[in-house]
């Protein structure tokens, strides 16, 4: 018991330190809100998001003899160690390094998946995915359609770390979800933490359409939760309502969900209003029903994402919401996003749609 108390006080001290650190520049710009609801009953164990992803791939390699995992440096786990220990466990013919050639990795994965294997390809950073853009857009997304349904590469999942990490600069920070959301034939998914990462990744791997799975890299180690150890999936194309209210609907995905959860908490404390907070999870296809039902209830909607404003995925949401919920809206839909500037190196804290900016937008919307 004594040790439990000590443990708790250490945790508390850590929490206090964490909160203190958040006020410093260049520290992480959000507080992590762990998931309390388990998608399945049964045994759980504490995992961070890196370990949860590792666990999902471990289960896949164990249960699916056709599954292979490849990418730059994945043999020793990859730069973020998501594949740690998997080569030792499943062998060099199933978990292996590729050369540094993203276009080749994507094309190879498409061929492999089309031929019947479950292909999990890692692109080391989402910022490096653009050499593979042609393969993903013109080959992966269109195989099924152009062959009249005879061929598909649905067993392909491309995993890649995305979004701000505190000091990533121009090429280790981007959030490219909107590029892929423009391509019929693909599925685009972003988890917000360990539990969703495991469930959504397993869904993506089993989904019979090619998936781009974007992993907010700052969560790999900073997000930890009690994750069910057994196999489970979380449905694609479904959003989750994480907090309920009637004053406004706050929509985000990935890291931004945690920013919005804090904004909702601040709004409740300071303004006495409650908000719906929705984690979109699936960017393509996205859950129109959940979003529009919420906005019809609240009459106000704020969308926040790290990617730039112009043609960010918030634009698509806003357009659909105004069409579907026009007579319910009490205020213009508000988007709080990164600037229409390249992701800056020294200006990251000014670039991000942090809680204060979201809060300001929310208050303006409430007072409209």
């Amino acid at each position: 018991m004594a040790s439990l108390v000590t443990k708790k006080s250490v945790l508390l001290a850590r929490l206090v330190k964490n909160v203190g650190d958040c006020t410093k520049r260049l520290s992480s710009h959000f507080i992590y809100y762990p998931d309390n609801e388990k998608p399945v009953e049964g045994e759980t164990t504490k995992m961070n998001m890196m370990q949860a992803i590792n666990n999902a791939m471990d289960l896949t390699l164990k249960n699916d003899p056709t599954a292979v995992l490849f990418g730059e440096d994945v043999a020793f786990g990859g730069v973020f160690r998501c594949a740690l220990g998997l080569q030792e466990k499943y062998g060099k013919d199933r978990v292996f390094n590729t050369p540094l050639c993203e276009q080749g990795i994507a094309g190879f994965g498409i061929g492999l998946a089309t031929a019947g294997a479950t292909a999990i390809a890692e692109i080391q950073f989402a910022d490096y995915i653009f050499p593979a853009f042609d393969q993903i857009i013109n080959e992966a997304a269109k195989v099924r359609y152009r062959s009249g349904g005879q061929f598909d590469c649905g067993a392909l999942t491309i995993r890649t770390p995305c979004s701000a990490v505190g000091h990533g600069g121009l090429y280790h920070s981007q959030s490219p979800e909107a590029f892929f959301a423009h391509v019929p034939g693909l599925r685009v998914v972003v988890p917000r933490g360990p539990i969703t990462a495991k469930g959504l990744l397993l869904s993506c791997i089993r989904e019979k359409d090619p998936c781009v799975f974007l992993e907010p890299k700052i969560l790999y180690r900073s997000a930890a939760e009690e994750v069910p150890v057994e196999d489970y999936t979380i449905p694609l194309g479904k959003a989750q309502v994480l907090r309920e209210g009637d004053a406004a609907t706050l929509i985000g995905w990935g890291t931004q969900v945690h920013v919005l959860l804090e904004v909702a908490q601040i709004a409740e404390e300071k303004l006495g209003v409650k908000c719906d907070v929705i984690d979109l999870q699936s960017i393509l296809p996205w859950d129109e029903d959940t979003v529009c039902n919420s906005v019809k209830k609240t009459g106000r909607c704020l969308i926040a994402h790290e990617a730039p404003l112009t043609s960010g995925f918030g634009a698509e949401l806003a357009a659909t919401i105004q069409e579907e919920c026009f007579l319910h809206l009490e205020a213009p839909i508000s988007r709080v996003t990164g600037w229409d500037a390249p992701f800056p190196h020294v200006f990251e804290p000014f670039y991000l749609p942090d809680k204060w900016r979201c809060y300001q937008s929310l208050t303006e919307m409430l007072n409209y």
């Binding site: 260049l26 730059e72 440096d73 043999a75 020793f76 730069v79 390094n97 590729t98 050369p99 540094l100 050639c101 276009q103 080749g104 080391q124 910022d127 490096y128 653009f130 050499p131 505190g166 000091h167 990533g168 600069g169 121009l170 090429y171 280790h172 730039p308 404003l309 112009t310 508000s334 988007r335 709080v336 996003t337 990164g338 600037w339 229409d340 500037a341 390249p342 800056p344 190196h345 020294v346 200006f347 000014f350 670039y351 991000l352 749609p353 900016r357 300001q360 937008s361 303006e364």
Partner: protein, 399 residues
């Protein structure tokens, strides 16, 4: 008097001393070098589709010997300082060190002319200095300060200088740009040659082969320089490349393998490349076999895919600075005291710049919306606060 460099002795003997070539030779103390020049054998080059390669003996004057030594030493020192600043969390972001590979850049630079151009990847701190930036310009960029060569907006991977088209962040992406720069040299007829550098890891990117083809098709004055340090990030070249003879991977483009740990070899090979390209023969591929002591970047300890013994052995037997130092000392092109003097000067210069790079101011937040377009049609940049967009500003001078 016999101990003075002859040419300087001649100068000193005359009445009109307008310029002293080597400042080291102003006294006759034994502290200074005793020979004016020496010749060195170079480890044989390997050639691909070439009948004749670069010169296998190199002549080095004592003046050049000291200059090369100083450049090697300063590059190493900049990287040591960068590593420390990173560990102190003053440099944030990504940071890739060049330690171990100095002889490639220093030797190439020694052969290059003012008209020649360079483009490289993200291991670019040393190149930026060699192309004319100050140590402070480099370190301030790394610490994200106003005095950085890119005003602190680029960081470690995006350093620029005159005729230096940058550090580039995406593996292999700079190589087709190199072919384009080569075309510009040819089109303008300025006689320049472009050197496009990439690593053994990037050698497997498809766009390299597109660039090779264009360069040969149009016979561009472009040298594709593969800095083969043995590891593409954490994967050794044997495990990533079907052919590790990178100098031959241009197929129809002639190639040269060079000992990239020998600054004289890299210098002579580069001279050969310039002669080749300026005589209209088209591109070349040059492989520089070298080694990096640090991990790929600061987050890579560099020991999970190779042994500490391997790194130690290279340091002891092939270090580009130590081996060069031995060479010039044993051939009496320099004395230990002279080199010590240079070491002290280099240390002072880099230490001062390091200190300065910590206290320089950052640019103002208004530059978040600076230089996105040459001339922004919409004068504002939209973003986090739609009701208060930032004014697009032009910070850099426009041509």
């Amino acid at each position: 008097m016999s101990k003075i460099i002859p040419s300087v002795a001649k100068l000193l003997a005359g009445n009109t001393v307008t310029k002293v070539g080597a400042p080291v030779a102003t006294t006759s103390s034994a502290k200074y070098s005793t020979k004016s020049e020496a010749s060195f054998e170079i480890k044989p080059y390997k050639l691909h589709k070439l009948e004749k390669g670069p010169a296998t003996t190199a002549t080095l004057t004592s003046e050049d010997a000291l200059k090369l030594y100083e450049q090697l030493a300063i590059l190493r020192r900049i990287e040591t300082a960068s590593g420390n600043l990173y560990r102190e969390k003053i440099i944030r972001g990504f940071c890739h060190l060049y330690s171990g590979q100095e002889a490639v850049a220093v030797g190439m630079r020694a052969a290059m002319r003012d008209v020649d151009t360079v483009i490289t990847a993200y291991r670019c701190h040393g190149w930026t200095y060699l192309m004319g930036a100050s140590v402070l310009g480099v370190l301030s960029e790394l610490t994200g300060r106003r005095t950085g060569v890119s005003r602190g907006k680029g960081g470690s991977m995006h350093l620029y200088a005159k005729n230096f088209y940058g550090g580039n962040g995406i593996v292999g992406a700079q190589v087709p740009l190199g072919a384009g720069i080569g075309f510009a040299h040819k089109y303008k007829g300025d006689g320049g040659v472009n050197f496009a550098l990439y690593g053994d890891g990037a050698a497997n990117q498809g766009q390299l082969y597109e660039a090779y083809n264009m360069a040969k098709l149009w016979d561009l004055p472009c040298v594709f320089v593969c800095e083969n340090n043995g590891y593409g990030m954490g994967t050794s070249m044997e495990r990533s490349s079907a052919s590790t003879d990178y100098y031959s991977r241009g197929d129809y483009i002639p190639g040269i393998w060079v000992d990239g740990m020998d600054v004289l070899a890299t210098r002579e090979a580069t001279k050969f490349c310039i002669d080749w390209c300026t005589s209209g023969k088209g591109p070349l591929v040059m492989e520089m076999e070298t080694y990096r002591y640090s991990g790929h970047s600061m987050s890579d300890p560099g020991t999970s895919y190779r042994t500490r013994d391997e790194i130690q052995e290279v340091r002891q037997t092939r270090d580009p600075i130590t081996s060069y130092k031995d060479k010039i000392l044993s051939n009496e092109l320099a004395t230990p005291d002279q080199l010590k003097e240079i070491d002290a000067k280099v240390r002072q210069e880099v230490d001062d710049a390091t200190k300065q790079a910590k206290v320089e101011p950052e640019i103002g937040v208004e530059e978040l919306a600076g230089d996105i377009y040459v001339d922004c049609v919409d004068p504002v940049i939209r973003g986090v606060i739609p009701s208060a967009p930032l004014q697009h500003i032009s910070v850099a001078q426009r041509n």
